[in-house]
C-alpha cells in the first residue's frame, strides 16, 4: 500500500529546488553578461579619455576648431574640426543616397515581388553585407570613382549654382561624394535587411484593412505598412548611420585626404576620423598617437550621440503606436 507524501513534502520537492537552481544560474549568467557589456563600454570610455587627455592638454580648445593635423611638429598644431566635419558630412550624404534605395528595395521584397523572388532577393541583399570593407574600398577606387565623374561633372555644369554640386577647380574623383557613394553601398544591406524584417512584422490584417477600403498597392503601403514600421526603420537607418560614421578602410582608400571644412562634396579631398586614424597611426609619434586617440574619443561621442538620439525617436514612436502619449 502506498501512501501519498504529505503536502508539505510535495511542495518542497527536489525538482522544485532544481528548477530554482536553474533559475539562479540563468539569472547569474544574464546579469553577468549585462554587467560585462557595461564594463566593456566603461573601459573603452575610460581608456579613450585617459589616453586623450595629454592631447587635449597640448592643444587646448583649439582641438575642436583647428583644421590641420601636425601633432608631431614643434609647436604641435592639430584639431578634429575638419575630421569630425568630414565624418558627419560623408555619412549624411551616404544616408541621403541610400535611404530611399534601401527602403524601396525592402518594400519591393516584402510587398511587391512574388514570394520566391522576395526570398531570393533577400539573400542577395544579405550577401552585400558580408563583402569585406576593404573590397568595397578597392572597388570604389578602381571602378566606382571614375564612373561617378561624368555624373558629377554634369551636375556641376547644370546645377553648379548650388554649392553642394559645385566643383570650383573643375576636378572630380576621390571626393567626399565618392566616399559617400561607397559608404551608401556598404550600409545598403544593413538598412534594407532590417527594414525588410520590420515590414514583414506588419500583420497581414493591417494590409487587408487598407485593401478592403479600396487602397491600391502604394496606398496600402502608405496607410498600413509604413506607419507602424516607422520606429523600426528609423532604427535601421541609425544603425546604418553608425556603421557609416565608423567605416575606416574603404573611406581611407577612396578619399584623397585633406584637412579642410568644405561643403563642396564633389571636390577631391576631405577626411574622416576613422580613415585618418588608419592612415596616420603607423607614422605617428607620441603626441601624434595621443591626438589620434583624442579624435577617436570624439568619434565615440558622435556615434553614442547618434545612437541615443535614435533610441529617443524609436521610444517615442513606439509609445505613440501603443497609444500611450
Amino acid at each position: 500500500m502506498t501512501v501519498a507524501a504529505p503536502a508539505s513534502e510535495r511542495l518542497a520537492s527536489r525538482s522544485t529546488r532544481e528548477v530554482r537552481r536553474g533559475d539562479r544560474i540563468f539569472r547569474g549568467l544574464s546579469v553577468g553578461s549585462g554587467l560585462a557589456i557595461l564594463a566593456i563600454i566603461v573601459a573603452i570610455a575610460v581608456f579613450l579619455v585617459w589616453k586623450a587627455l595629454p592631447a587635449f592638454h597640448t592643444s587646448g580648445l583649439r582641438f575642436f576648431t583647428q583644421t590641420a593635423w601636425f601633432p608631431d611638429a614643434r609647436p604641435a598644431r592639430f584639431g578634429v574640426a575638419a575630421l569630425a566635419f568630414g565624418t558627419v558630412l560623408s555619412s549624411v550624404v551616404a544616408l541621403v543616397l541610400v535611404v530611399p534605395v534601401a527602403i524601396g528595395a525592402a518594400l519591393t521584397l516584402t510587398e511587391l515581388a512574388p514570394r520566391r523572388l522576395g526570398v531570393f532577393g533577400g539573400y542577395v541583399v544579405d550577401v552585400l553585407a558580408v563583402v569585406p570593407s576593404v573590397v568595397y574600398g578597392l572597388w570604389g577606387v578602381y571602378y566606382l570613382v571614375p564612373k561617378l565623374i561624368p555624373m558629377q561633372r554634369w551636375l556641376d555644369h547644370n546645377a553648379g549654382f548650388v554649392p553642394l554640386f559645385q566643383s570650383r577647380n573643375d576636378t572630380f574623383g576621390r571626393s567626399v561624394f565618392a566616399a559617400s557613394a561607397v559608404l551608401a553601398i556598404m550600409v545598403l544591406p544593413i538598412i534594407a535587411a532590417i527594414s525588410r524584417e520590420v515590414f514583414r512584422q506588419v500583420p497581414q490584417a493591417n494590409r487587408e484593412a487598407a485593401l478592403a477600403l479600396g487602397a491600391t498597392r502604394w496606398e496600402t503601403i502608405r496607410m498600413a505598412v509604413l506607419p507602424p514600421s516607422r520606429s523600426g526603420v528609423v532604427g535601421a537607418v541609425m544603425l546604418g548611420f553608425g556603421r557609416a560614421l565608423g567605416e575606416t578602410i574603404a573611406v581611407a582608400l577612396v578619399l584623397a585626404a585633406s584637412f579642410n571644412v568644405n561643403f563642396h562634396v564633389f571636390e577631391p579631398g576631405g577626411n574622416t576620423i576613422a580613415a585618418n586614424i588608419a592612415t596616420k597611426f603607423g607614422e605617428s609619434g607620441v603626441t601624434g598617437r595621443e591626438a589620434l586617440i583624442a579624435s577617436g574619443l570624439v568619434l565615440f561621442v558622435i556615434t553614442l550621440g547618434v545612437n541615443m538620439a535614435a533610441r529617443g525617436v524609436v521610444y517615442r514612436s513606439t509609445r505613440i503606436a501603443e497609444g500611450k502619449v
Binding site: 484593412a209 506607419p227 503606436a321
Partner: protein, 258 residues
C-alpha cells in the same frame, strides 16, 4: 444605395486547392444574410470573393460571376480597387490602423477617394461613429491612436470606417467572434439598425447569432478533408433553423456534427 447580389457558379481556389465549388445564390438588399457552416467549409472564402478580396492572397483565384445589381464585379475592365471601394468589409479580428488616430481611421477610406476638405471629413467621421454607436465613447479623444481602444470599441471603429464611404454592401467575417458578450450584443444591435440601409452578409460560427440577426441563412458544408466547400441549402432563417430540407443542415443546426 443597397444593392442586390447575384452569384452564379462561383468557384474559388488557393493555388491548386479548390476551396469553394459551384455556388450560386441571390443575396437580397436591405436584409441580413448569414453564412453558416463548420470550419473550413469555404464560407469566409466565399465572402471574400464577393468584394474581390480573395485574390489578394498570393496564388488565389476565382471563376464565375458575382453580379452587383446586374454588373459583374469579375467582368472585363472592372477594377478590383473600385469594387472594394463600394463594398465595405469588417474582419474577424478588429484591425484598425494602430498608429492612426480614431478620426483618421474613420476618414481613411474617404481620403482614398480624394476627399480633403476638413469640414466634410469631420461631418462624415461624426456620422459614421454615431452610426457605429461609438461616438459618445470616443468624441473626446478623436486624436488618440485607434490601437488604444478596447477590442469591442476597435471593432465598432472598423465598422465606422467601413460605413464612412457609404458602401452599397457590408460584408462581415465573424465580426463578433473575438469579442465579449456585451460588445457582441452591441454589434448585433448595430447590424439590426444598419440593415435598413445596406445589404449585409455576415459569416458566423455562432448559430444563435445567425438566428438573431439574419433574415436569410445559407448553410455551407464540406464532404471531407481536401474537398471543396459547397452551398447545401439557403432559405429564410426561421425555416433553416426549424425545418430545413436537407438532413445535413438539420444535423449541423441540431449539433450532431461540426
Amino acid at each position: 444605395m443597397a444593392k442586390r447580389i447575384d452569384v452564379e457558379d462561383l468557384n474559388a481556389w488557393y493555388g491548386s486547392f479548390h476551396a469553394v465549388a459551384d455556388v450560386s445564390m441571390t443575396i437580397e438588399p436591405k436584409q441580413v444574410t448569414a453564412l453558416i457552416g463548420p470550419s473550413g467549409c469555404g464560407k469566409s472564402t466565399f465572402l471574400r470573393a464577393l468584394n474581390r478580396m480573395h485574390e489578394v492572397v498570393r496564388g488565389a483565384r476565382v471563376s464565375g460571376q458575382v453580379l452587383l445589381d446586374g454588373q459583374d464585379i469579375y467582368g472585363e475592365g472592372v477594377d478590383a480597387v473600385a469594387v472594394r471601394r463600394s463594398i465595405g468589409m469588417v474582419f474577424q479580428r478588429p484591425n484598425p490602423f494602430p498608429t492612426m488616430s480614431v478620426r483618421d481611421n474613420v476618414a481613411a477610406g474617404l481620403k482614398l477617394n480624394g476627399v480633403r476638405k476638413k469640414s466634410e471629413l469631420d461631418d462624415v467621421v461624426e456620422r459614421s461613429l454615431t452610426m457605429a454607436g461609438l461616438w459618445d465613447e470616443v468624441s473626446h479623444r478623436l486624436d488618440r491612436p485607434g490601437g488604444g481602444l478596447s477590442g469591442g470599441q476597435q471593432q465598432r471603429l472598423c465598422i465606422a470606417r467601413a460605413l464612412a464611404v457609404e458602401p452599397e454592401v457590408l460584408l462581415m467575417d465573424e465580426p463578433c467572434s473575438s469579442l465579449d458578450p456585451i460588445s457582441t450584443l452591441r454589434i448585433e444591435d448595430l447590424i439590426g439598425e444598419l440593415k435598413d440601409r445596406y445589404t449585409i452578409v455576415i459569416v458566423t460560427h455562432n448559430m444563435q447569432e445567425a438566428a438573431r440577426v439574419s433574415e436569410t441563412t445559407a448553410f455551407f458544408n464540406i464532404a471531407g478533408a481536401g474537398e471543396p466547400g459547397r452551398l447545401i441549402e439557403m432559405g429564410p432563417t426561421t425555416k433553416i433553423f426549424t425545418k430545413p430540407d436537407d438532413t445535413r443542415t438539420e444535423d449541423y443546426i441540431t449539433g450532431r456534427f461540426g
